[in-house]
């Protein structure tokens, strides 16, 4: 069995950033495993620009952003395998892979989970109606268009105002298709404001809030859908049904961290993020298994994915150096205005970045980070939406060794 210091599962933005940073920290016996035939992950199909403003202070397309890391990997000769799927990861950090050259088993001192996320499907949402073709998730439609030169439809309606859905609205329009409307079940958009402006408003594509798809028509190809208004509990209101013709329905209704391998390795998941429960070292409940990027929690910008993975690499380096990391005994407890935080627990011995998302749009609020009934840190927010990740740096000097960290919002 081949021995590795670190095995990184996934050659997308998180995996690549972790690999490059680990190498710079002097950890060179690493292996990146990627199931596609090239590195880059989901960025390969994101041909629009807007990536890199935070990480590189310039705007790049997805492939360009990925290439910056791939170039580093190539320059440093960091070893990676493409066309290789990880079949299993054990609690003992034994990793089994499969590829055209066969089954292989490795033992790693540390494993980095960087598998990214997948899209919520029609079946998972339980959208009623018939099951014609022409219903695609936004990312799949994007892959068809940008990687396979394939047009999925001409007369399009989009359900969900997630960022990929809005980016696809623009992409479809540019390729001559008609995008009739975007419907969002929530009373607020779920994607970033810049995408609403640049992908919908600029092209005259209407966005309707508090509406959802309640029926799907067509027994071969999609012929149309029914949309209905929803009440404040998001339940469709009878009598508000409206039938619309279309040959394609694009779903941009959320992303789910891809944690099947993590579960098999015994990693404990957070029911809110659907990712691993981690401490400020990005270490999961299994000693020596770390996670960062969209496999940990869905990010709004790839820049934050890279930066998170780079921080993870620093702690993996510490872990390899000291053979263990301080135990995280301090829980982070958000109130109901906060959907989740990452990390979910800390040791109290380090400065760290607290990432969080609000559970509903908030205005003119204050986020207080408290410990033992003392306010450690305050962040004023004039406007917060669930689409945006909020990051608050916490310095170790203000932390105490005991007592849960509470995240309280007052409006």
């Amino acid at each position: 069995m081949e021995e590795k210091d670190v095995i990184i599962i996934g050659g997308g933005p998180a995996g690549l950033a972790a690999a490059v940073e680990l190498y710079h920290k002097g950890i060179k016996n690493i292996l990146v495993i990627e199931r596609e035939n090239t590195l880059g992950g989901i960025l390969r199909q994101c041909i629009h620009d807007g990536f890199g403003l935070n990480r590189f202070k310039t705007t790049l397309s997805g492939p360009e952003y990925a290439q910056r890391f791939i170039d580093e990997v190539e320059k440093d000769n960091i070893s990676y395998m493409t066309n290789t799927t990880v079949l299993s990861v054990g609690q003992d950090k034994v990793v089994t892979t499969v590829g055209r050259r066969g089954l292989k088993t490795y033992r790693a001192k540390a494993v980095v989970l960087a598998m990214g996320c997948r899209e919520r499907t029609r079946g998972a949402l339980g959208i009623p109606g018939e099951r014609p073709t022409g219903v695609f998730t936004a990312g799949v439609a994007q892959a068809y268009m940008n990687l396979q030169n394939t047009m999925v439809g001409r007369n399009i309606i989009i359900l969900g105002s997630g960022d990929i859905g809005m980016i696809m609205a623009r992409r479809f329009t540019l390729e001559g298709a008609t995008v009739k409307a975007v419907f969002e079940i929530q009373p607020y958009p779920s994607g970033l404001p810049r995408n609403i402006q640049q992908c919908l408003n600029d092209y005259g594509i209407p966005l309707y809030l508090s509406k959802t798809v309640t029926d799907i028509h067509g027994n071969s190809r999609l012929t149309g859908i029914t949309v209905s208004d929803v009440d404040k509990h998001l339940n469709p209101i009878p009598g508000t049904e409206q039938d619309l013709d279309c040959d394609t329905l694009i779903l941009s209704v959320g992303l789910i961290p891809e944690n099947e391998l993590s579960l098999e390795a015994g990693v404990e998941l957070d029911s809110r993020t659907k990712g691993a429960i981690v401490d400020e070292y990005y270490q999961t409940s299994v000693d020596g298994i770390f996670a960062a990027g969209n496999v940990l929690h869905v990010h709004d910008l790839v820049d934050f994915v890279s930066m998170e993975a780079e921080k993870l690499a620093d702690s993996v380096a510490d872990y390899l150096h000291n053979q263990s990391l301080p135990k995280a005994t301090i829980s982070i407890l958000p109130d109901t205005n906060i959907n989740h935080t990452v990390p979910q627990k800390i040791s109290g011995k380090n400065s760290f970045m607290l990432s969080l998302r609000v559970s509903k749009p908030l205005q003119d609020c204050v986020i207080n980070i408290c410990q033992n009934d003392k306010i450690l840190k305050t962040k004023k927010i004039t406007k917060a939406i669930p689409a945006q990740m909020i990051q608050i740096p916490i310095q170790k000097e203000i932390l105490s060794d005991t007592g849960s960290l509470e995240v309280r919002v007052t409006c």
């Binding site: 199931r35 055209r100 499907t121 018939e130 394939t150 309640t214």
Partner: protein
């Protein structure tokens, strides 16, 4: 015009079982299927349960053929290389009245020849299925589960291997009697001449019966909706769990699949449109609520898909559901076998039904045995189910086994290629799906559909815009964006 000894109309599980059994004789046999593959209708849209036979009236064909089918299912599954688990099943009750119902079912079942039916107490019930809610249950040890797609496909492939010709996209439009004791069968894609006709058209049995000259059968559809749950739920359900049935309806149940998912359903709604398979929201909500009383493990987060199926039921003038009707009506339609109202337990009873059909034919004509008939059929090797050693050997021999195409179900390129070049010549996406389980996992093809569509294009030389999902008109794509 192609001439046949026998044409079977409808390639579902009964039609394909009949084709396979008939191929034991020296006959030229054809199957006319209106869809682009088998399993598009009732045979592929059900619970996948191999029934024991206790639920049917004593002396009925349903009872007799079901018990016979159940008894031999283990042997048949081995012969045709299809998944089958004799899991047993429980009918869970709470009240004294339900206990009496279950005792009556046991009596009926024993008269039908079903073995081992017993009432078990709460403690025993919870030993078998810890998660279930109920005071007692009827345990039927001979019940089981199979994969209805693989079973139907195996029967059809074995029939084809033994010389039966399958015609897809051939919907029968009319049937004419010729003076020379043959029939001309007109279809949407050409004419055929045949000496025998077998009507195994399922939902279309009434229509075909009329075309053959036998009128008067009233067929209603009973539509049932289902929800499929993630494989995470499989370990919580070792065997099918049913409520105590009413006279006409088995009730909403939860059933494990041979692949480790759980299916919830079906409800039962009388329908006249036999082509509408939509699942309404209220039905989904009702299924989840109703089944949760039995087995409180149904969470929306585990939904991966929903589907529905329609059973063809033959009813009398009062709407009372009748037994299977399998007739040779020599006066109205000589040399035809008419199969009417083949609903549940048609999957379990398919081969006994087929033998019954051939027995009726043999009463009119003596057939020569086909010495070359081979009853065995082997499926391709399924990578995910193999040991590490076998996996290594498979890849060494064929590197395509090292390429995972479907990440959820761990289906390899070798398996997809095998399915694309299937013996029946089916070239739709669902054809690949039913044969391999790709696109059936939790991401619902998000990862592999694109790869499979491309493989179909490349392997079969089909244009992007012409790739079909399931039916005619179910084109997946508008075409290429640009010519490059």
């Amino acid at each position: 015009m192609e001439r046949f000894d026998a044409l079977i109309i409808g390639g579902g599980v009964v039609g394909s079982a009949t084709a396979r059994e008939m191929a034991r004789n020296k006959l030229k046999i054809g199957v006319l299927e209106k869809n682009l593959d088998i399993c598009y209708e009732t045979s592929g849209r059900n619970s996948g349960v191999v029934h024991a036979g206790f639920a049917y009236d004593v002396g009925s064909l349903k009872a007799k053929l079901c018990v016979e089918g159940n008894n031999e299912f283990g042997k048949i599954a081995e012969e045709l290389d299809v998944p089958f688990k004799r899991t047993g099943k429980v009918l869970v009750g709470n009240s004294d009245e339900e206990l009496r119902s279950l005792q009556n079912i046991i009596q009926q079942g024993e008269k039908n020849g079903v073995k081992g039916l017993t009432i078990i107490d709460k403690k025993k019930l919870h030993e078998i299925v810890p998660a279930v809610q109920g005071e007692f249950a009827l345990l039927s040890p001979s019940s089981g589960i199979t994969d209805p797609f693989q079973y139907t496909i195996a029967l059809a492939e074995n029939a084809a291997k033994n010389g039966v010709k399958y015609y897809f996209d051939h919907e029968v439009t009319s049937i004419h009697k010729n003076p020379d004791k043959t029939y001309t069968v007109m279809t949407t894609h050409g004419e055929f001449r045949t000496r025998w006709i077998i009507n195994s058209a399922g939902l279309g049995c009434g229509k075909i019966s009329e075309m053959m000259g036998i009128s008067g059968y009233r067929i209603i559809g009973s539509k049932g909706d289902y929800i499929i749950l993630d494989k995470r739920t499989g370990p919580l359900l070792p065997l099918p769990v049913y409520p105590v049935p009413s006279n006409t309806y088995m009730g909403i149940h939860v059933t494990p699949t041979t692949d480790g998912n759980v299916i919830v359903g079906p409800d039962a709604e009388a329908v006249t449109d036999f082509s509408y398979y939509g699942v309404p929201q209220k039905n989904m909500d009702y299924l989840a609520k109703s089944a949760s009383n039995l087995w409180p493990c149904i969470r929306k987060a585990d939904y991966i898909r929903n589907y529905s199926g329609i059973l063809p039921k033959w009813v009398d003038d009062n709407g009372v559901i009748q037994d299977f009707k399998i007739e040779a009506n020599i006066d109205l339609a000589p040399r035809t076998i008419n199969l009417i109202g083949i609903e549940s337990p048609g999957l379990t009873a398919a081969l006994p039904i087929a033998r019954h059909v051939i027995k009726l034919m043999s009463q009119q004509e003596t057939f020569k045995p086909n010495e070359d008939f081979c009853p065995r059929r082997k499926s391709f090797v399924r990578f995910a189910q193999q040991s590490i050693e076998v996996k290594k050997a498979l890849i060494a021999e064929n590197p395509d086994y090292g390429e995972i195409v479907c990440r959820c179900e761990k289906i390899t390129k070798a398996e997809i290629l095998n399915a694309i070049h299937n013996p029946l010549g089916v070239n739709t996406m669902t054809g690949i799906k039913y044969r391999t389980r790709s696109m059936m996992g939790r991401c619902q093809g998000g990862y592999c559909q694109m790869r499979i569509a491309k493989m179909i294009e490349e392997e079969l030389g089909i244009d992007t815009k012409d790739v079909l999902y399931a039916r005619q008109g179910s084109n997946l794509f508008a075409g290429k964006i640009r010519n490059i």
